[in-house]
Symmetry: C2
Subunit: 381 residues, 2 copies
C-alpha cells in the first residue's frame, strides 16, 4: 500500500532542493565611481576589505543554501571572463550573458524561464550580486522560510528590520502575520514604498511594520513568470521562446533575434508591486545586517560599523596619514594619502582619477558621472 | 677749479649704483608640503602659474634695479645646481653656498661682509627668494627711496600697506615721517611686532600706521654689520674673517673652519629690532601687492585674487572637474581630479603623496610634516 501510494503519488522533491539561486550581476554602480568603472562594476569590487568581490561573497553566502549546480548568474557579455574567474565553480549552463542590459524583469525572467524548462516545479530565488550581508545563518533561515512560502504558490520577498531611519532604501509595508505559511516571521505585503524622506523613515522605524526592501524575490519560476505576464505578456512570451531554445543548437540564434527588442523594466513594476496589490506577495522579516553599499558614505559606514568619527581605509596597499580626519580613503595606489582636519571626507585615489567629496555629498557623484558621459569624459567611466 | 675739486673730492658713485641685491634662498616651506620638498624648496616652485619659480621671479623683479653683476644669491650646497639653472646670468662670484643653514643673520651678514671687502661704500638690499610681489614699478620706487635712506646711514626696511587684517604676518609700527630723508613715504620705525590676533590686526588696519613686515632690509653693508656686531660680536667677527679670505685661495678653507660654529639666529633679532630701538631704522611705506605665500590658503587667495568662492588650479597638466567646489587644486600629474561639493578644499596631487586639507587648516600641514620627520616618513619630505 505504501509502495503503491508512492508509485501513484511520488514524493515531491523537498522545496529547498528545487531552489535555484539566481544572481543578477549587472549595473556599474556609478555612485562608486571612480572605483567602479564600466570594466570594474560594483559587483566585482571588494568594498568590505575582505579580499573578496561582492559577487564572490554573494556566491559564498548562497553555498550553504544551494550547491553550485543550482546557482545561476546573469551578467553582461563584457563581464563573462571576470565572472568565471571569480566563480570557477559556476557551471557553463548556469551562466546567462546578455548582449545588452535589459533591466531586472528580462534578466530574472529569462533565468526563471530557463529553470521552468528544466523543471516545471523549479523555485527561483533572486539575490543581488552587489549587496553586503552579515549574519549568514539568519540569511539562510530567511531563505528557507521564503522557499516554504514560495512552494505554496506565493511570491516571497525578504525584508530587513531597519536599524536606523534610512532614506536611501525602499520599504516593504507588512500587514497581517501569515502563520498558515510559517510559524513566525512571514507577513502579507501591503505595498512597496519608494525611498522616504527623513520624517517618514523615522515614522517607519517607530511603527516596526516597515522593512527595508533588499530586492530579494523567491517564487516558483512559473508563478513568477505568470505574474510578470499579466503586466508584460510580450516580454514573457519572448523569454519563454528564448528559454525553450536555450539548451539547443538554436539557442544563440533565438536569443539574438528576440533579446534586442525586449523592454527595459524593473521587476518591481512587473512582479513585486502588482503581486502585492493582488495579495500574492508575502514578506519574510529578517534581522541580518544588510546594506546595498550604494555610495561611499555607505562603504565608510560599513567599514567603521557606523562609528562616524572614524576614518575608514579601503585598499590593499593604502597608506594613510590622518590628522583629525574622518570619513573614508579608498586607495588603489601606494601613494601616501595625507589628511589634515577633514571631517566626513571621501577620498578615492585611483591610477587615473582622484575623487574628493564628502559623505553628505557622496550621492552626487552620480551627477558628475552623468556630466562626464555627456561632455566627453567617457573613457574614464 | 672744477677739475681740481673733482680730483680732491671725487664725485661719489650714486647710491643706487652701489646697491647690491642679495637673495637669501633658503627654507623648504614645509606648510607647502608635499609640493615643497627638501629637494624642491618653496623658492624653486612656481606658485603663481606664471611658469617661473619664485626665485626666478625675484631675480626678474630686481633686474631693473640692479644689473646681474650686482645680484647675489645665498643658498644651500644642495641647491647650487638648481639655482644656477634658474639663474644662468648669476656670476659665480655672486653665488654664496652654505654647507649647512645658519639662518638669516649669517646668510645676509656674510653677503654684507663680502660686499664690504669689495667696496667699503657698498649698500646691501636683502629680498626673500620666495615671496610674490605685483606692482614692479612701485617696488622699484620703494627700493630707490630705501637706498637713499641707507646712504644716509640708516637701516631701511620696506613695509607694505595692509589690504586686510592679516594674522599671518609680522607688522612694522611706524612713527613720524622722516621728510629729511625723502619727500614722502619714509617713517621712523617705532617697533617690529609679531603676528597679531584678529582683533589686533583689525586695529592695526584702522590705525594705518602699521605695515606688513616683508623682511626687506636695505643698508650700507658696514652699517648692517656694525649693528649686528652689537648683538653678536663673535658672529660678525667670523663673517668678516670668512669674507676677507673669500676671493682668495684660502676662501673655502676659512669658511669650512668657521661656518659650522656660527649661531643660528634671525636678522630680525640681531639687526631689525635693536636698530629700531636705537632709532636707526626707517621704513619706506609701499603700496605694491605682496604675499609671502606661506601656505596653500595663501596660494589659493593669490590665484583667485581673493575671490574665495573660486577654485584655483595650479599645475601645467592639471585636469579638474568640479561640482560646487572652491579652494585650490595643485596637480603635478595628468590624472583627473574630481571634486563634488567641497568648499575651501586644498588638494595637492603629487607622484608619491596626495594631500587633502582645507584652507582653514592649511597652516597645520606643518604639524603633519613635523610628525612625519619624527615617525620615519622623512623620505617623503
Amino acid at each position: 500500500m505504501t509502495a503503491a501510494s508512492e508509485a501513484l503519488s511520488p514524493a515531491r522533491t523537498p522545496a529547498l532542493e528545487r531552489l535555484t539561486c539566481v544572481i543578477p550581476a549587472g549595473g556599474v554602480g556609478s555612485r562608486l565611481w571612480p572605483l567602479s568603472r564600466a570594466n570594474a562594476p560594483k559587483f566585482l569590487l571588494d568594498l568590505t576589505g575582505s579580499g573578496d568581490s561582492l559577487l564572490r561573497a554573494t556566491w559564498d553566502r548562497l553555498s550553504p543554501v544551494t550547491p553550485a549546480e543550482r546557482v545561476m548568474v546573469v551578467t553582461g557579455n563584457a563581464h563573462r571572463a571576470s565572472v568565471t574567474e571569480q566563480l570557477p565553480e559556476l557551471l557553463a549552463q548556469n551562466l546567462i550573458t546578455e548582449s545588452e542590459p535589459k533591466d531586472s524583469s528580462a534578466a530574472i525572467g529569462l533565468a526563471a524561464a530557463i529553470l521552468e524548462t528544466r523543471d516545471p516545479d523549479a523555485i527561483i530565488g533572486s539575490f543581488a550580486a552587489d549587496h553586503v550581508i552579515r549574519g549568514d545563518v539568519l540569511f539562510q533561515r530567511a531563505v528557507s522560510t521564503a522557499v516554504q512560502a514560495a512552494d505554496q504558490g506565493y511570491i516571497a520577498t525578504i525584508g530587513i528590520h531597519p536599524s536606523h531611519p534610512a532614506t536611501g532604501f525602499g520599504y516593504i509595508a507588512c500587514g497581517s502575520a501569515r502563520g498558515d505559511l510559517a510559524p513566525f516571521d512571514v507577513y502579507e505585503v501591503t505595498e512597496f514604498v519608494e525611498k522616504p524622506d527623513e520624517a517618514t523613515a523615522t515614522d517607519y522605524l517607530l511603527r516596526g511594520s516597515y522593512l527595508w526592501n533588499a530586492g530579494m524575490f523567491i517564487a516558483k519560476a512559473t508563478v513568477l513568470l505568470d505574474q510578470m505576464a499579466l503586466a508584460e505578456p510580450e516580454l514573457v512570451r519572448s523569454l519563454r521562446e528564448i528559454a525553450d531554445a536555450w539548451d539547443t543548437d538554436r539557442g544563440a540564434q533565438v536569443r539574438e533575434r528576440l533579446w534586442p527588442a525586449l523592454p527595459k523594466i524593473a521587476i518591481d513594476y512587473t512582479v513585486a508591486e502588482p503581486a502585492a496589490a493582488a495579495g500574492k506577495m508575502v514578506c519574510v522579516a529578517a534581522h541580518f545586517d544588510w546594506d546595498d553599499v550604494g555610495d561611499f558614505a555607505s562603504v565608510a559606514n560599513l567599514l567603521t560599523r557606523g562609528r562616524s568619527s572614524d576614518l575608514a581605509v579601503l585598499g590593499d596597499g593604502a597608506q594613510v596619514l590622518s590628522d583629525a580626519s574622518s570619513g573614508i580613503v579608498v586607495s588603489e595606489s601606494d601613494r601616501l594619502v595625507a589628511l589634515v582636519g577633514m571631517e566626513d571626507v571621501v577620498v578615492v585615489d585611483t591610477a587615473d582619477v582622484l575623487l574628493v567629496t564628502s559623505k553628505s555629498r557622496a550621492q552626487d557623484v552620480k551627477n558628475l558621472v552623468n556630466r562626464m558621459r555627456l561632455t566627453g569624459g567617457g573613457h574614464l567611466l
